[in-house]
């Protein structure tokens, strides 16, 4: 009965919930049907706490904490919705939109995009920071897939899924700050990558239209996300 000792109780938005001590707040919230926005996090991959959209308030702590990496503790009092959190999340979203060129109306993922859905959900009607109109290109050298850096939010889901699940580690990050790019191999064209197995996992975990299947027209690219928890589960059980 060792696991019983690890059960902790906490409150999320005033609700009493119980959890395993090694769970994250985000996992527990989701299990209990409490919605916390997230962009870099996805079930089945290691959390990295990069996008900061899942920020929460914890009583007694002046700092906001990303729920995807915050482990639950006994007696923790978590708030997932507040005016302050909304404000932060909205600014984060606005900056994501302003950083590159997210043109939903002509995007392959229009209507199936997690960034777009979050913006709609939070009621983002406009962007208050100036757009940067970064000149970033498209790599269409791969036979089947396209990477459009204009739509990339640097969530690194592609990097993690390629490394952790496929084991190829084709994707990685180059540069710092706004100069960061996801790259294939050592910054070679995707079509020339020796390590890419063309499995398509990166495309399916990508939250936006940054990674898509070649030839898809506007609004046609919907991603299959279910495969990931399933694959993780099956591999762990073996």
């Amino acid at each position: 009965m060792a696991s019983a000792a690890h059960v902790v109780t906490l409150t999320i938005d005033g609700r009493d919930v119980s959890a395993n001590a090694d769970d994250t707040v985000l996992e527990v919230a989701r299990e209990n049907g409490i919605f916390i926005p997230r962009l870099c996090n996805i079930d089945g991959l290691t959390p990295v706490g990069a996008c900061r959209l899942c920020l929460i308030e914890i009583k007694g702590s002046p700092k906001l904490v990303p729920a995807c990496v915050a482990k639950v503790t006994e007696g923790m009092e978590v708030t997932t919705k507040s005016e302050r959190l909304d404000r932060y999340r909205r600014v984060i979203l606005e900056m994501l939109f302003a950083e590159r060129n997210h043109i939903c109306s002509v995007c392959v993922s229009n209507g199936h995009c997690e960034l777009q859905a979050l913006a709609l959900d939070i009621g983002m009607t406009h962007v208050r920071v100036p757009y940067r109109y970064l000149r970033v290109g498209i790599d269409a050298s791969h036979d089947r897939f396209i990477v459009d850096h204009n739509r990339c939010v640097l969530c690194t889901r592609c990097v993690r899924v390629c490394d952790e699940i496929e084991g190829a580690h084709t994707w990685d990050l180059l540069g710092r700050g706004t100069n960061s790019r996801v790259i294939t191999d050592l910054h070679q064209p995707w079509g020339e990558s020796d390590t890419c197995t063309s499995c398509g996992k990166c495309v399916n975990v990508c939250p936006t239209g940054a990674l898509s299947i070649k030839g898809h027209s506007v609004a046609e690219m919907s991603k299959r996300k279910q495969f990931l928890p399933y694959l993780t589960l099956m591999r762990t059980e073996k």
Partner: protein
């Protein structure tokens, strides 16, 4: 001194117009220029994007005829894929094109032109709009709204959205038609056809009152250009290009649309951002030609549907040879609405229309593609070049309104010469200038929509360049330049 031309970078065709009228030493109108002062840059900013994005991206050029851009663009992309698209996919595209033609023509005729026709060119400008029509002739206004709704509704039923549906894709369409939708559309066609028949009957009773306008509204010899089927019939989706002269002689026929650059060239005038295409063998400006409903009905042998053909026979009584007055664009538009409705029934009852095979898939197999179709306003050309990965390298678009540019300018000059006497500009003149441009239904009027007026700016310039008089009609709702 003339005032500086203000460049509003709003839209390619829609939006603001400017007219300059030049006087000779005796104060008579010598020339008039119709300026399109906007710049959009679609040809440039599509560069580097995947070609599969083009239909939806290019459709954003216009909110009234997005389907035409969708189709011209998708056809250019079909050529890049180098595939033959499934027959049903083509029928469905045609169906949506017809629906759009109906709604766009209805908008032009009822919402934009009918106030002049019903209330008179010199009537109170405050009431010379769709609301004035609603007040004076509620049945006609209702018919117009109904007909436009009919077209828009079908576009939505087919493509999921009334404006900018993403359903037309390279290789065909993205989803087949269901039996329920087919029946739903079929059930609405008879009412629309009744409205169209009623309207053309009414129109035939009133248009002869406008003799002076008919005589001066761009009533001059020119060439006419448009697509026809193999048999020379009216074609709106696909076909071969035909040129006809003012006497009704076919001077070039069965031209391959993809070879357009061999017989169409574009001239540039310093006063307008819109280029002036002309028929190459005749040079500029003699090779000036018109496109759109009037041109299509002039050049075609017949329509190929019974009611439209009966109307066409009557239409051709107006004049021997080609019908030359642009005033008759209105008439031609009404006949085309009937044709579209008749064609829709044919496609909807076709045994293959519900086939699930509506799209061909392929990668980029050809590095260059041209798509030509007939938009409500005339022949529309999209020409793309891509790299071997399918990214756009270059695009050239010749928009329907562009073909008519030279003819619109000549029309404005003709109206100005006829109606401007002395150094003042009467309101009726402004409206007639507006009305002659409006017969072409250029995308300029798209943006000003039914309420309010085209923001016009007319200048009278003496030979020494001084500004004699100026009349300005601002855009009261501030909506003229809105990008749709």
């Amino acid at each position: 001194m003339t005032r500086q031309i203000v460049i509003d970078p709003v839209t390619r065709i829609e939006g603001h117009a400017k007219i300059t009228i030049h006087l000779d030493d005796d104060g008579r109108v010598q020339n008039a220029e119709f300026h399109v002062t906007q710049f959009r840059g679609f040809e440039k900013f599509c560069e580097g994007r995947p070609f599969s994005e083009m239909p939806s991206l290019m459709a954003r050029i216009c909110g009234i005829c997005p389907v035409s851009h969708l189709i011209a663009s998708a056809k250019a992309c079909d050529e890049l894929l180098a595939v033959q698209i499934p027959r049903t996919g083509q029928y469905l595209r045609r169906l949506m094109n017809l629906a759009q033609m109906v709604q766009s023509h209805a908008l032009s005729f009822f919402h934009l032109a009918s106030p002049d026709l019903l209330l008179g060119m010199d009537s109170d400008p405050g009431k010379r709009n769709i609301f004035g029509v609603l007040e004076a002739h509620p049945e006609l206004a209702r018919d117009g709204i109904q007909l436009r709704k009919f077209g828009q509704q079908i576009i939505e039923w087919l493509g999921g959205k009334r404006i900018h549906p993403a359903w037309v894709v390279p290789g065909g369409v993205s989803a087949p038609l269901t039996a329920e939708r087919r029946d739903q559309i079929l059930a609405t066609v008879p009412e629309a056809l009744e409205i169209a028949k009623r309207t053309i009957k009414w129109y035939k009773g009133v248009y002869e009152k406008f003799q002076s306008e008919i005589a001066t509204f761009a009533n001059f010899p020119s060439l006419f250009m448009g697509l026809t089927t193999e048999r020379g019939r009216l074609a709106l989706y696909d076909g071969k290009l035909r040129f006809m002269d003012e006497a009704g002689n076919i001077i070039a026929d069965r031209l391959e649309p993809s070879q357009y650059s061999e017989y169409i060239e574009e001239a540039v005038e310093p006063y307008s951002y819109l280029k002036f295409p002309y028929y190459k063998p005749m040079g500029y400006p003699d090779g000036c030609y018109r496109v759109g409903p009037l041109a299509r009905l002039n050049i075609c042998t017949n329509c190929g549907t019974p009611i439209a053909d009966a109307e066409l026979t009557e239409f051709r009584q107006i004049q021997e040879g080609a019908v030359l007055s642009s005033f008759h664009y209105h008439y031609a538009r009404l006949i085309e609405i009937i044709f579209c409705l008749e064609r829709m029934e044919i496609y909807l009852t076709h045994p293959d229309i519900l086939s699930k095979h509506v799209r061909a898939f392929a990668g980029p197999n050809s590095l260059e593609g041209v798509g030509v179709t007939e938009a409500p306003r005339g022949t529309l050309i999209h020409h793309y070049r891509i790299d071997e990965n399918g990214l756009m390298k270059w695009a050239n678009l010749i928009i329907a309104t562009g073909h008519n540019n030279a003819a619109m300018n000549r029309g404005v000059t003709q109206v100005a010469k006829h109606y401007i006497k002395g150094a003042t500009i009467p309101e009726g003149m402004l409206n007639r200038v507006e009305a002659v441009i409006r017969t072409y239904d250029p995308c300029l009027s798209c943006s000003t929509h039914a309420v309010g007026q085209m923001p016009l700016h007319v200048q009278l310039v003496a030979p020494d360049g001084t500004l004699v008089a100026e009349a300005r009609r601002d855009d009261p709702d501030g909506v003229g330049g809105r990008i749709r």
